[in-house]
């Protein structure tokens, strides 16, 4: 086991021997909107927090949507847990999706359901044997993890943006995923709430031992949560390294992210 340089206070150990996500030569274009991704290579190891940076519209969201099969890739290898994601039946794909949490850019809470129903909806469908009491205790547990126990009977429309992000996170946590994909978890929030969410990501990572990909524009969040950072530009990964090393990069364009 090799220690990886990290910004985290806890010095989480990342096993370099175990890649959980392996992407090779990934291509994706949309009709006229050609070449969003042009050969992305990416490896994420177990327990690692990988931050993906890139300009708006560079295809960061498309990249993680390819990963869970929401968007089908045109070409390239997609390996998650050592399983080729491109050749799965619907049933097999769903079985893998349960092991991957996805936090949407705008939370995507189910508008017509209360917070409680939002959380029990995926849980009840995947663990049919659970009693009402067990479901209730899982809901309480994840809500406590995100610090929003009092919101349990609210409708999503009654929540603020930051609260919605947290409930969205709670909803992904309830299935106890091994990987969590965060799409801009702190965008649109004030600095204090952003920091709280970033710390929450770290806390969750320690508690549930997840592997994460975090897409963000928020450099404070990147610095706090990221073990390793990559930058997406013109459809490929152009830079990779720790926060400290990229901050001191020779490339002025890379450095411009850190101002």
């Amino acid at each position: 086991m090799i220690q990886v340089e990290t910004n985290r206070k806890t010095q989480h150990v990342v096993e370099l021997s175990k890649p959980v996500i392996n992407i090779k030569g990934l291509y994706k274009s949309f009709g006229k909107n050609t070449d969003i991704l042009k050969g992305v290579d990416l490896t994420v190891r177990k327990g690692e927090n990988l931050v993906v940076l890139g300009k708006s519209g560079s295809g960061k969201s498309v990249l993680i949507k390819c990963l869970v099969g929401l968007v089908s890739a045109d070409k390239g290898e997609l390996n998650v847990f050592g399983i080729d994601m491109t050749k799965l039946s619907d049933q097999q794909l769903n079985a893998i999706r349960v092991r991957i949490g996805f936090l949407f850019q705008n939370s995507a809470l189910y508008d017509s359901m209360t917070v409680r129903e939002n959380l029990s909806f995926p849980l009840k469908r995947h663990s049919k044997k659970l009693t009402t009491k067990e479901v209730e205790s899982s809901i309480t547990e994840v809500l406590e993890s995100v610090g929003l126990r009092e919101a349990i009977d609210k409708m999503p429309s009654e929540l603020s943006g930051g609260m919605r992000k947290r409930i969205g996170l709670a909803r992904t946590l309830i299935l106890q995923p091994e990987i969590i994909l965060y799409d801009e978890p702190t965008t649109g929030l004030d600095t204090i709430t952003s920091r709280e969410i970033s710390e929450l990501i770290l806390k969750i990572q320690e508690k549930y031992k997840t592997t994460s990909i975090i897409i963000t524009h928020d450099m404070a969040c990147a610095k706090l949560t990221g073990d390793r950072l990559v930058i997406l530009k013109d459809g490929i990964m152009v830079a990779e390294g720790t926060y400290a090393s990229l901050e001191r990069s020779n490339d002025a364009w890379v450095r411009s992210f850190f101002i």
């Binding site: 949507k65 869970v68 929401l70 619907d90 769903n94 079985a95 999706r97 349960v98 991957i100 996805f102 949407f104 850019q105 705008n106 995507a108 809470l109 189910y110 508008d111 017509s112 909806f121 995926p122 469908r125 995947h126 909803r171 992904t172 299935l175």
Partner: protein, 252 residues
Amino acid sequence: MVISLKNGFTEAGNATLFVARFFRELVKPPYELKEFIRQCYIMGYKSLPLVAITGFIMGLVLTIQSRPTLAEFGAESWLPGMVALSLIREIAPVITALICAGKISSGIGAELGSMKVTEQIDAMEVSGINPYKYLVVTRVLATTLMVPLLVVFADGIGILGGFAGINIHGDVTMYRYFSQVLSSLEFLDIIPATIKTFFFGFFIGLIGCYKGFTAASGTESVGKAANSAVVTASLAIFIIDMMAVQLTDLFF
């Protein structure tokens, strides 16, 4: 021209795939029984007042309008039977279906459209839940079952409306009115008219779901989905009605 033709074919192809998928998912467990019942309640029960009012007015107006013509031939005693026949065969099914297209189909289009736009459907999919099964199959089944029931309800209320219409001028007892209605009705009037309402219901649900499910991104497409659901569903109702009438003519 070529592009619009190509788009038309693409759309037709997508719609066909959508229907095919409905039947595939329909038979595959697990079944979303609870959501199906909830949808039946929302669509059926919540549409009752609207259908009752329009049904009553249809019966009443039809009676009042037909009376002078029948009176000219001295055939006023045919009035109850004629009103009941036109209601059951044609007017109640079509008008009720059109109301459901306006209320239910557009509602589904807007609901699923906004779920699509705000990525709620994607969220279901990534948590390993089949959104097609949960959202589409339940709703289409619910409309297929509820629209015929609403039509039967409208038939009944419409005939009551006819009774009210007759009593504006004459004085007919309830018993005599209904015995006239029943004696003029034959089994064969009811069966084809009922069968076509299942198709109305099926397409009302399906078109609403299709428009919502295929909404493009951006909030303005929610409105477009709802609007185009109503327009397409209304058109579909007339086309199905025309085909149903031709087929009935052929076989009965």
